[in-house]
Amino acid sequence: MDETLTEFLGNHLKRFLPLLCSIFLLLIIYIPVHLPLSRFLRPDLGMICVYFWALYRQDLFGAASAFVLGLIADSLSAVPFGLNSFVFIFIFVLSSASSSYVNMKPFAVSWAGFALVSFLAFVIKWLLASVFYSRFLAFGNIFVGYMATVCLYPLIARLNIFIQNRYLAEEVVYEQG
């Protein structure tokens, strides 16, 4: 049966849905909230998205997607250009490697996995930024950011699960080897 243009566009949009949702969530974090705590409690939603999609849908969210998402984060923030890209690929590699262990396990396992992976990612980001600026950045604020990110994981993961089940479930592709 011939594919209509709408179906064709719809199918291709679905392929980019994880990346588009991740960009949307990434942008949300930059909205000014005019609260004093906003300068401390700023979670890194990009990390959550990269971890989640690399864990469950590597076929739709590859290393290139993680890199692009990182570049967008880099262009919006004042961090050294390339820093977020590096960290997001690092998370992608760890997450995709642990995919077979975490898949089909209770949600708490993936949450604990994220806590570990994001901690390593924050440490790497802190080290790279410290090398870039030739001085150690204050780790206290970064740790608060890490805690906020870990605490927000269930909410963002649930949102991503909803997107996966509602729009992408019929396109599940299992790769062997």
């Binding site: 000014p32 890199f67 961090v79 250009f81």
Partner: protein, 288 residues
């Protein structure tokens, strides 16, 4: 059948190898980008400016629903506030009328005395108001993104004032959008002077909300509560602009409290004193 299976394994291994190669290439690209941004390459700056221009309108779109709720709540609050303010303003208006007359007299007196001294006044500053559309503040960087009129004369390096004091400088300009590097950011170093004792120092951001006063002499006369103003030494900031208050004097460092409540800022003023243009002109002439 056997041949097919071999082909499948070979393809699978090839895909696996290609994937590993891609990841390695992306890692190297990210590191290369970091090194290039350290070297401040013009081409990379143009690329980042373009990306900045593309993604900032998206932030405006994303924040629309949140902005509507926030504006609705703000309108209710404003009605109550305006009533109280109106009373206060009527009272202040009377006082201002008296002050206006005094200022006019002083201005005339100043003009006469300046004429006697053959004094050349500095160029008057011009400013542009800009709405903050995005904020970033974590352990890695402190910046704001503001929306400006496309024809506004805004350039990199210009000073940004909050409601009461200096909050940073323009780091990037791209179309309608500017990135403001806050003075709490690790990249910010501003020469300052203690208003009371005229002691000099450098106000250095460290990606926390409490910047530090560095390079002061050991016997410097600095007390808690002292006001810091820009010294104008580096040639980018004019002298005398308030920037912070000394909040703690430790053994190794002096903490500074910001005057403006940056998280609550909605609008900023981008001021052009003309100093940065002069500095750029002189630098380019020297380079030639």
């Amino acid at each position: 059948m056997k041949r097919r299976r071999v082909l499948f394994i070979q393809l699978s291994q090839f895909r696996l190898f290609a994937r590993k190669l891609l990841i390695a290439a992306l890692f190297i690209s990210a590191l290369a980008l970091m090194m290039l941004s350290k070297a401040d390459i013009m081409l990379l700056n143009k690329v980042t400016d373009t990306a900045f221009l593309i993604f900032n309108p998206l932030i405006k779109v994303v924040q629309l629903p949140a902005q509507l709720v926030y504006d609705g709540y703000g309108t209710i609050k404003d009605v109550v506030r305006v009533y109280k303010e109106n009373k206060q303003l009527k009272k202040e208006n009377l006082e201002m009328t008296l002050l206006k007359n005094q200022v006019r007299t002083l201005k005339m007196e100043n003009k006469l005395l300046s004429g006697l001294l053959n004094y050349t006044p500095p160029p008057e500053a011009t400013f542009v108001s800009a709405k903050i559309i995005a904020e970033e503040g974590d352990g890695f960087s402190h910046s704001l993104i503001a929306y400006i009129d496309k024809d506004a004369d805004v350039q990199e390096g210009q000073i940004v004032l909050g409601s009461e004091s200096v909050i940073g400088r323009i780091e990037a300009v791209s179309g309608h959008y500017v990135r403001i590097l806050l003075f709490t950011d690790i990249n910010s170093k501003i020469p300052v002077i203690v208003e009371r004792s005229r002691e000099r120092g450098i106000l250095s951001g460290d990606n926390t909300t409490i910047p530090k006063l560095l390079f002061t002499s050991l016997d410097a006369d600095i007390r808690t509560g002292d006001m810091l103003v820009t010294s104008g030494v580096a040639g980018i900031f004019p002298a005398g602009l308030p920037i912070g208050i000394v909040s703690r004097i430790g053994e190794d460092e002096i903490d500074v409290e910001t005057i403006t409540d940056i998280p609550r800022l909605e609008y900023v003023r981008i001021v052009n004193y003309g100093i940065y243009d002069d500095v750029k002109r002189i630098t380019s002439e020297e380079e030639k």
